[in-house]
């Protein structure tokens, strides 16, 4: 117990918590600023300041209350389904976000910047969808084959970036950014070809995924949550094992710490680049399979949504540790799920999620800024100064 308390109040966790808090605060201020009642009451602020404060409180409380009802528990719902559906939606969103986030985390830990989550999710989704709607396989193997196809497609797509880096020294940041756009355009094009487009469809959409290739919706059809959630949990454990216990994970981390030292120690740097990017891509690809075989039933051009960016933020917020990524993934999944209700009920545009999310990452990345905002002394620095004086 003592250990848990210590962990929470440990300076870096405290900064994380405060960063999230500060972002929500700023988001709240923006919501209030854009609110019509607030603007109206601001007109006679000096005559009746209480009106203004009441309007501000109403705007912020209304929005965050809707966010809570949309993501955790809807106490205003009339039946049980309505009450617990928000939580299942949160976990449905958290599934691809966490999976892709794990992919980014593997790359970050190995010293590589994978900005290509979007493209890798698309490739995973394309591979899985094609097997899902065009092949006719028995139920037991259809889903695994579809998932495998997604993993392979995205692992090749990611691994190619690693190969380019190993063979020519191409900067993976630039390549992955460009690959995102290439993948997006490719997906749009392929959905207009007979190979992928549903017969008789005029818009770019694939045929429906066969029932045998869908992830099992274990809570019934009124919920979108599906077995991909358990795949995600298994992957959290697997990535933890991979990074902390396996010899290949050791090579990954060695590369991340110091490529030159890793080389001297006899690690094949080029091959490791390819492997890291392939694993990273495969995890993002799994996120794509979760979307197309689980939460949705069709492949559409918007399959990757903003999950590529979410994945980067989740990996950073979770400090590239599997459990941290899971926690951050659930948090951002809740934001996504809640924002839908917030937009419908309170007319707060869904874009507020992007704002809060990017603020969280900016604050997390700059602990001195958070310490400055909350006037927290820098313990480590003070200790260092003390030591210096003592010496």
């Amino acid at each position: 117990m003592n250990k848990v308390v210590k962990q929470i109040f440990n300076p870096s966790s405290l900064v994380t918590v405060l960063a999230v808090l500060a972002s929500f605060l700023i988001g709240g201020l923006l919501i209030a600023f854009a609110n019509e009642n607030v603007q109206a009451t601001a007109g006679y602020l000096f005559a009746r300041p209480a009106d203004f404060l009441y309007a501000v409180w109403n705007a912020i409380f209304g929005a965050y209350d809707a966010l809570f009802r949309g993501s955790i528990f809807n106490y205003k719902a009339l039946d049980t389904v309505g009450m617990i559906k928000p939580l299942t939606e949160t976990l449905t969103y958290a599934t691809p976000i966490t999976l892709a986030g794990l992919g980014m985390a593997v790359a970050f830990r190995s010293g590589l910047f994978n900005i290509g989550g979007t493209g890798q999710i698309i490739f995973g989704a394309m591979g899985a969808a094609w097997v899902g709607f065009s092949l006719d396989l028995p139920a037991i193997i259809h889903l695994p084959v579809a998932v495998l196809a997604g993993i392979l497609a995205s692992a090749f797509f990611g691994g190619f970036v690693g190969f380019l880096k190993a063979a020519t020294g191409a900067n993976e940041v630039i390549v992955t950014i460009m690959m995102n756009y290439i993948a997006g355009l490719l997906l749009f094009w392929i959905l207009t070809t007979p190979l992928f487009q549903a017969p008789n469809a005029t818009n770019p959409i694939s045929p429906e995924i066969a029932q045998s290739a869908k992830y099992w919706r274990f809570m019934g059809d009124e919920y979108r949550i599906n077995a991909a959630f358990f795949v995600m949990l298994a992957m959290v454990a697997t990535v933890w094992w991979l990074l902390n216990r396996s010899s290949i994970g050791f090579q990954f981390r060695a590369l991340g710490h110091n490529p030159n030292a890793a080389k001297v120690a006899g690690i094949n740097i080029g091959l490791t680049y390819v492997l890291v990017m392939a694993v990273s891509g495969a995890l993002a690809g799994l996120a794509g399979t979760a979307q197309v075989l689980g939460a949705e039933k069709y492949l559409t051009p918007s399959v990757a949504a903003s999950f590529g960016f979410d994945a980067i933020t989740v990996a950073l917020l979770g400090r590239s540790k599997p459990l941290g990524v899971l926690a951050a993934g659930v948090l951002f999944g809740a934001l996504r799920a809640g924002a839908v209700i917030m937009q419908a009920n309170q007319k707060v545009p869904i874009d507020i999620v992007l704002i809060v999310q990017s603020l969280v990452v900016l604050f997390i990345a700059a602990p001195p800024l958070v310490r400055f905002m909350f006037r927290i002394p820098d313990v480590a620095k003070r200790q260092a100064q003390k030591n210096q004086v003592a010496a």
Partner: protein, 408 residues
Amino acid sequence: MKRSIKTPVGFSVIAALSLWLAVSAPEGTTLFSFNAGKELLAVPDLYIPVAGASWLIFALLLAATAGSWLLALKRKKTPLWLTALFAFAFVQQVLVLLFVGEMFPVTTTLQGSLALAVPLIFGSLAGVLSERVGVVNIAIEGQLLAGAFASAMVTSITHSLTLGLLAAAIAGSLIAGVLAVFSIKYVVDQIIVGVVVNVLVIGLTSFLYSTVMTRDLVALNQPERFAQIDLPFLSQIPIIGPLLFSQTLIVYLMYVAVAAVYIALFKTRWGLRVRAVGEYPKAADTVGIKVYRTRYMSVMLGGALAGIGGAFFTLGAVGSFSKEMTAGAGYIALAALIFGRWNPILATLAALMFGFAQNLQSVLSIIGSDVPSQFLLMLPYALTVVAVAGLVGKVTGPAATGKPYIKS
């Protein structure tokens, strides 16, 4: 020097492709039209026999490929102008084939390409100024978008195009300022800051658009647009007149900006300092150059340029702001910057080429060509991957780009 056969191999592949195109070329002619209706002297239209032109171009490409191999055997590099000419000739062959039996409106297509390239050029200039001083600028997209939003709003309210342009510049440089503060003061990884700042700006502008702007679109999102200015005499020169000298103020500003950035970077003391800080900040610091101040200034100046580029979307082209209207232009600008090897003039040429590819796609869809438009849209991104993989010569940025400098 090490013998490198990447370029000749690349040439050979393209030449083989050209041969295949020549063999399979259909009968017929393609009409190249050069008139946009303003010139004093009309240029006669060109009727080009497809098969003949294809074979001629193939012969030229073959000669260039042979030359490139010879140079490589002598351990010499293929000069950039030869590569450029090679690419130009190949593009002509493809164009003649694509428009067989149709009319290819050369001048109007180029006009459209320039229009699409303007924000890309401003964006890549911002990238040049930022990366030359040692700060990776992934946030060009955000700076463009902020400029577009601010200029639409301010011009709608004040009815002043000048103020709108100024607001765009300020908005762009504020976003660049965020990038600068986080990467210089807080030593956050510059790539992370760039990616996050882009999303922050997308979020902020979309949020403000759907809450504040949409409530009163007439008052807040109906800016005036810059009028087209025909420069006397110059605008009547065939082809280049309507293309270059019958444009809006932002385009003329763009010409000035390209020249100014080039001269400032390579011909002035300030530019030497900027480049010194971007290559070797420690040495620059040692001789008394203020590293941090130089970085802030150059990055924010670039941001102002990108902001003006963003204003082109609202005050130059569309006439109103819409959500995420830059649609990845900032990343194409980044691509142009890399393809242009961090040189303002080469980056401008790359941006023009990317603008051409984008515009060609819409011209092709008008004549009902069955070439999938997505592939032309993909071109900037694919070419950039090719470029950073080192297939068109070595591409390396300033040495200290992306590395924070900590004064000790």
